[in-house]
Symmetry: C4
């Protein structure tokens, strides 16, 4: 479905190792560039298999997730029993009761699955492993720069690190051969007190913006957010909750609506800023509060 | 009515292309300088006609609106069906019900019209075009600096750009022959996240304050607001909601009251600041928080 | 009563032209230094009479009020009919009903009077002139530096300007022979958007602190407030609402309590700051947020 | 009990002169380093006795409390009759009623006592002296740097000043032979308007971080708080309310839970920061807002 909409709006499509739809199915319906969000597992066979499936499905970009080497302390998830697929606890039942559209979708749609991981999951039989447990048991927390460099070379194409927040790491991404980085703190859900990606964007763009693509991810909800990031020097923006809330509330129609709104807003805002092309955007459009 | 009050308080009178009263009627009742707020339409005939009507009615200033080349994303307007004249939707009826004085005025006063545009509006028969639609269908969104320069020379008198927010544009306004600029973000309703006019005032005054009149528009509600803007270097201030809320709530008496209050406040505040003439105002009166 | 308490706590006593008790009565009961807060009237005979009464009553300091040359726009006072003595309006009756102790005091105590002004008030017969009216009808709004200099020389003793907020005015106070200034914005009730006295204290102390006494007035409620002002460079602090709220709520016992608390707090806070004498206080004790 | 848990989590144990359990009992159950928080009393015999008891019980660190030379103005304590042990007032009864677990513990557990002070307390018979009274009647408010130096030399071991908040005092701590300082404002309960320890940490570490151990105390509740302090340059962190709230609510299980959480958080956060050893932490991890 997102594949269909990205065709319409020309957005790049991203899907992760945890996806409930396979890269092959996505490839069938999406014409625009596709990104595979890669999690680095202890099981190197699983890593290789995922990489080759993404390559075979003509995915254009491999983005290695580097800000989720361990699960964040998602205290709310622990209370509500958030798993993928969701567990029915008293709390989650209450949540369903107060969000009837979500509950309806959950109960009437086909069951969730994580096909990319099937065959590699040893914990339990029904994959109802909590997101937190998945991170701690299946991911390789000792992943290092060598692993990233090897994966980059193995992919041998557009390769990004997803979750860079410092100039130092951005420079190293260049050194190991990345063609891009996604400045991201994983939605602010990993490390409490973390700065926002936008806060880090300027210095990272200053350091590596002329060498690799810098993508800003985090908190993107409106056209002005995108234009601010591009004004600072980002090449593009990426969003998750941006379309996910709409998806949960109204399905494909919801996602279509937010993508349409985003298009309209970017156009309108550019007119109001007196800008006709993206390369006319610059930091002169912005004012910053101090921090150091 | 505003014409009458401006005679009493010596304020300059401004009216836009969207006005419900003609420039000719205003000319009959107003003695003080008059400003015509010009919207640049696709229909050059309409533009010429408006300009000549303003000239014939002895308007002293033409202010070309440059921050509303497209309608802002006024999300509330979309929900409430705000049009000029207003449409009776369930929401607007509710709004009327909770603002009885407004409803009474709306239902008992003569019907609204936009006489400056009659004869040029092709959409529908009753002019009940939403403000958003008006901007997108009738205004020339490709208006550029050449258009502005030509209009300035065609008017051949006091000419201002209304909606300047940057030093660069302020300088260009000087270059094309403007005699003034109105620093404004159109009431903050156009571009979300926009800075306030006052925030931009100092650097704009520094750049062009000695060459053209810089007028500060936006958020002016009290005498101290005016005195702050003049202290920074503005020549004058302009306000919309300042008198419009009073107008909606209490008609001519309301506007008279806010104008009277403004006079009194400016006088009192100058006394309290130890200032007897406006040219004694300077930035020494103010302290600024940092931004860069 | 305040006279009695100042004997106990060694505070300086201040009373204004608007006082309900005469300088002569105060002189009888107060042993510590006394300050007369002088308002400059149109009626120079009244001015002279007030000055001589204060001198005859052995007042030690004359403080000329310079921040209240006109009444502030005290919007609340207008609504509640606040006058001295108070007028019984519906609003003030409601206020009395919800503050029974105040109402009891008002109804059972002897009637208020402004004895310093009796014989000079032409408006009405019962002195129930609103504070706002008093400022606008009786005070000389054209008072200038020459008037202040003449008064200073006429008094020929400790003479302060009360209501200085800028370095420039502080320097001029030195020039005309003042021995002190009270950095004050008249309780923040005069000019909306005014900075606080403490905000201005550092630069004023830097400019004139070695030549005259700088007194900080405004918002002093606790021992730390006094210690902060002294750390910046003030010679002393002055407070109005500090004791007035306590007075209204609990009479002499209330004032005694807040003065006692203040003493205790200053002592305790000095111990906690590791300071045994006031001259050990310095700006090293403080950290400032930026503004310029 | 804390002794047992510190064995498990490797935390250092601290206990004060006001403790309800003796240093000897603690020594029996705790294997990891122990700190005795020393209050300097007027009664030098009590001081000597406490020091020797701590030495005999193999305590490793003596921390002299220097920010509580006098009781803070703990206004809430005055209202609720907070004493050690607690007094049963109407307010405290209400408080117990709304915190049933606390009340249950209070009523069923053995009575509190302050064994370190017994034999030295002359005020009353049951030790129910309020914390405020204890500070003002038993502590030596004239304690000075010589006293601290003498105590340091008398202890002749790891010796810290607890409650340092300035560079100047930190330097002097080095001069008198201290091996550490605890940057602390005593939980913010002593001096209102005081800066937080973390605010002062950087400049203190810059001044003495290479000469003595700088420990950050105050507001530590999460792993990121510890990592921030260590990134600035602290050697360790210390917390009181961190475990005390858990203790009051759930006893040993509560403390075990918060210590476990803290361990987990520090580990997880280090992984997310890309740090494998504490000495990789530096100020590059942080961004500061301005103050000067």
């Amino acid at each position: 479905m997102r594949g269909l909409l990205q065709n319409k709006y020309g957005t790049m499509f991203g899907v992760s190792s945890l996806a409930t739809v396979t890269v092959e199915e996505i490839a069938k319906i999406a014409n625009t560039p596709k990104m595979f969000q890669f999690y680095f597992h202890k099981d190197r066979g699983l890593n290789d298999a995922l990489l080759e499936r993404a390559r075979a499905a003509d995915f254009n970009v491999l983005a290695l997730t580097v800000d989720t080497i361990t699960g964040g302390n998602r205290e709310r998830d622990k209370r509500t029993g958030f798993t993928s697929p969701p567990k029915l606890t008293l709390d989650s039942l209450m949540s369903f009761a107060t969000h009837p559209a979500w509950a309806w979708n959950f109960l009437t749609k086909e069951k969730f699955d994580m096909p990319h991981l099937s065959g590699y999951v040893s914990q339990g039989t029904n994959l109802a492993v909590s997101v937190g447990d998945y991170f701690s048991t299946m991911l390789d927390q000792s992943m290092n720069w060598n692993d990233a460099e090897k994966l980059c070379s193995q992919w041998n194409g557009q390769f990004a690190l997803k979750g860079i927040m410092s100039v130092e790491d951005a420079k190293r991404a260049v050194d190991i051969g990345c063609t891009g980085i996604m400045v991201s703190n994983h939605g602010g859900r990993q490390l409490d007190g973390c700065r926002s990606p936008f806060d880090q964007l300027a210095e990272i763009c200053d350091a590596v913006g002329d060498k690799i693509d810098v993508i800003c991810e985090g908190g993107i909800q409106r056209g002005t957010h995108v234009l601010k990031a591009l004004s600072v020097g980002a090449k593009a923006c990426s969003g998750g909750r941006f379309y996910l809330f709409a998806l949960a509330a109204a399905g494909q129609a919801g996602v279509e609506r937010v993508l349409g709104n985003m298009c309209t807003e970017i156009e309108r805002d550019m007119k109001l800023m007196g800008v006709t092309k993206l390369d006319q955007l610059s930091r002169d459009n912005l004012r910053f509060h101090h921090s150091r």
